[in-house]
Symmetry: C2
Subunit: 463 residues, 2 copies
């Protein structure tokens, strides 16, 4: 870890002379961007790409046959759309197999409950585990608990995530999923079941990745659908609750997946890169329409529309990230492989927050008076998009590149309903509004064109 930090520091210093120093678009370029916006607002291309991915591939969890089919699909799609360069870069990962998953309340009132294993969880063996529930309202309550009261029991965390436009409630809720098993295991629990990290009330549990802290006893971890979590709470009002659960999930073999990359080569500064994309993998339960088929489709289509209209000055590189869901594995591999060229990664945006309409844009600079930001505002306003703040977040696959100093923009989607579907079987094509997809496509097209044309740079990203 130390060596990495040192290298990062050196890179940070070497970049710190860069400030947001973009020039502005010419009148002609502004006109071109407006024409592109109008065309993209009417284009079905993103929806067609999304329909193709969900129909012809569907579930594509990293390391599964669906993952391999998705990689082949992506290469073919870029070629079919006549991208200038198409290639893939290897990403090594370890497979995880879901297996069977079922659970039931044994007493006081026997009923089946719907669970799904959390990604990376060990299984229970075919014989299953059974035990008395010990209930905590929050992850923090579990942290505070004495080992004595947890030992030999099945931990249940019942906190319900609420809806927010920016998804900020996810960050607070997700610790129960990612770290709950480690804390419960350390205190001697047999297993952990959490209320799904989701805002719906469908009988479809939400999966998602978890990890075991080093050295703790590994225990099985699952999520209950929201109605099933309610049911257990109602039974707990009447006394002790015993449940049984069987999960045959396990860790598999090493596997090589791929970041799949398609480029529209720049006409004036081909070595300078504008990076857009979404992640190609999905969870296995749905068809990954919203997470993140939408991001894949929007960004491929945006690059294609630009290429067909006016060759951009800089290169537009569409990266379809591998294995995001299991820990940004593709993103880390890319950052490692391209660290020596970080200087040429001018700026980037990832679409990975569903298919809701974009409502604001952020950028990573201290200077929010820049003429270019004002131009972007003017270009994006007709799409219902307002100027955000000079402190951009980004999709998760850009984090490793941000850590190396790359600037990002954030085209922020309305995520109010995103966590109704996120990581569930319900993540399917019918949930995507084609009109919202057009708005996203128009925004990415305009933005990517503008940043590919504008002189200067976007400074240094401060996380």
């Amino acid at each position: 870890m130390k060596t990495k930090q040192i290298i990062t520091t050196i890179i940070l210093i070497s970049f710190s002379h860069l400030i947001f120093a973009a020039g502005s678009l010419s009148k002609a370029e502004l006109k071109q961007a407006e024409t592109l916006r109008k065309a993209a607002s009417k284009s079905d291309l993103a929806y067609e790409i999304l329909e193709s991915l969900t129909t012809e591939v569907g579930p594509r969890m990293a390391g599964t046959p669906g993952d391999a089919r998705a990689v082949a699909w992506a290469e073919n799609k870029f070629k079919e759309l006549k991208f200038d360069r198409v290639w893939k870069e290897p990403v090594k990962l370890r497979q995880w197999n879901r297996g069977i998953e079922k659970a039931e309340i044994i007493s006081p009132f026997p009923q089946p409950v719907m669970i799904t294993a959390l990604g990376n969880s060990i299984g229970t063996g075919e014989e299953g585990v059974r035990g008395e529930i010990i209930h905590f309202e929050t992850f923090e309550d579990l942290q505070k608990a004495e080992a004595g009261e947890v030992r030999g029991k099945i931990v249940f965390i019942s906190h319900k995530m609420h809806k927010t436009r920016d998804g900020s409630a996810y960050g607070r809720a997700v610790a129960a999923r990612s770290k709950g098993a480690s804390v419960a295991g350390e205190k001697g629990a047999k297993a952990i079941v959490i209320r799904s990290i989701g805002t719906d009330n469908d009988r479809l549990p939400h999966t998602g990745n978890m990890n075991y802290a080093e050295g703790v006893t590994q225990i099985p971890a699952a999520a209950l659908s929201n109605p099933d979590a309610d049911l257990i709470l109602n039974q707990l009002k009447r006394g002790k609750v015993e449940i049984g659960m069987t999960m045959t999930s396990d860790i598999g073999d090493e596997y090589t997946s791929y970041n799949v990359i398609g480029e529209i080569t720049g006409s004036e500064n081909p070595e300078e890169l504008i990076v857009i994309g979404g992640h190609l993998d999905s969870w296995d339960l749905g068809t990954g329409a919203v997470d993140d088929g939408a991001g894949v489709a929007i960004t491929i289509a945006a690059a294609k529309l630009i290429a067909d209209y006016e060759r951009p000055k800089r290169t537009i590189r569409v990266v379809l990230w591998a294995a995001e869901e299991i820990g940004l594995v593709g993103a880390r591999a890319y950052a490692k492989a391209h660290a020596d060229n970080i200087n040429n990664h001018i700026t980037a945006a990832e679409s990975d927050f569903g298919a809701g309409p974009i409502w604001s844009f952020d950028w990573s600079s201290a200077n929010d008076e820049s003429a270019f930001v004002a131009q972007l505002e003017q270009l994006l306003n007709p799409l219902g998009i307002v100027r955000g703040q000079p402190k951009s977040t980004s999709g998760p696959d850009l984090w490793p590149l941000r850590a190396l100093g790359m600037s990002t923009f954030a085209l922020r989607q309305d995520g109010t309903d995103y966590f109704d579907l996120h990581h569930t079987a319900n993540d399917t094509l019918d949930k995507v509004d084609p009109e919202h997809l057009k708005q996203n496509l128009a925004a990415y097209t305009v933005w990517a064109f503008a940043v590919a044309q504008v002189p200067g740079n976007f400074g240094f990203n401060i996380n």
Copy 2:
């Protein structure tokens, strides 16, 4: 069948002298009804009963251990609420076991799809069946098809039910479920999968009963969730689709369930019965909150509130019907057992259309000018309920009694969203709005009190 028709005819003639000849409520009774309405509008009792049933029993498909638990729960609940008489009447039925159910698209693009076996369907055996899809948009299109094109294939009917307040689209859509297998089997199909008879787009298929016509080859019958039906349609646009499906459902043994009955004995005409109720059984996938825990809870609570306030003149009989879902088995048994007392069944209403608010009331008489109907209108208007028409429908469990001549009222619920949940795993307590339940409770309380007090009768039911 013939003997039955003759008996029915005799009964019809013997009743035909009855017309809607209700008198009207006294001023004092109107006041009492208003007081009851106000109290019921604030009462949590129906919700408490529903929470109890869904928490302590949950799924209760006819012939399962959940059915037996529901019968015990109902007897206990009536006794706990101090009903005057509580008893049960046997209902003979045949068990059906769901078993495992899974399906997948094999080609051109392999993906799992979510199915559920239709009630009463045979299984496929553990080895499953696989075959090419032959697609029909509607049941009628299947009926018109040549056997030659269907033989050896798996029939897929893709018609999607639309939303209506009165649920009328269900009647049109449901033939695919109830009769599809017979028609497909007759033409030599291997199996049939239908798009769920439901108005949602959740990844949760809708079960429901089906039957085989006599003499036809029995084939397995299943429903796909709406998103999975869409997926197959999208793959069909690209060519032939082959699917595989495995269902281990089968017919079980004879079983005795029970109609569970609780009465509030009338003070002046105890032999005269006002029948209310809902069906006690549910499908096995959800906890039967909406279908028909709500009806059970509303009607038990209404009788209880009346008993606690003012003993009614006539007896209020709450019948919790057994085995409705598998063919009105309890309702038929009741009608047979009580045919000789049909004269004393003054009128009835069943709550079996979910937990949405009631918006109108119908009655079964030719005379819509009756003073009593005007009084009902006055009493129910403050709940947002308007006068309907003098041609009442009824919940399905009243059909056998209507055939014997009993009049019914219909307190019609808004069913716009009912078929989002109907017969799915999503039918759980969280889907019920406690405020809607209070409105239903108030309406049933007022109506049952009014028909228990008013002199005269409600005439003869003409179906």
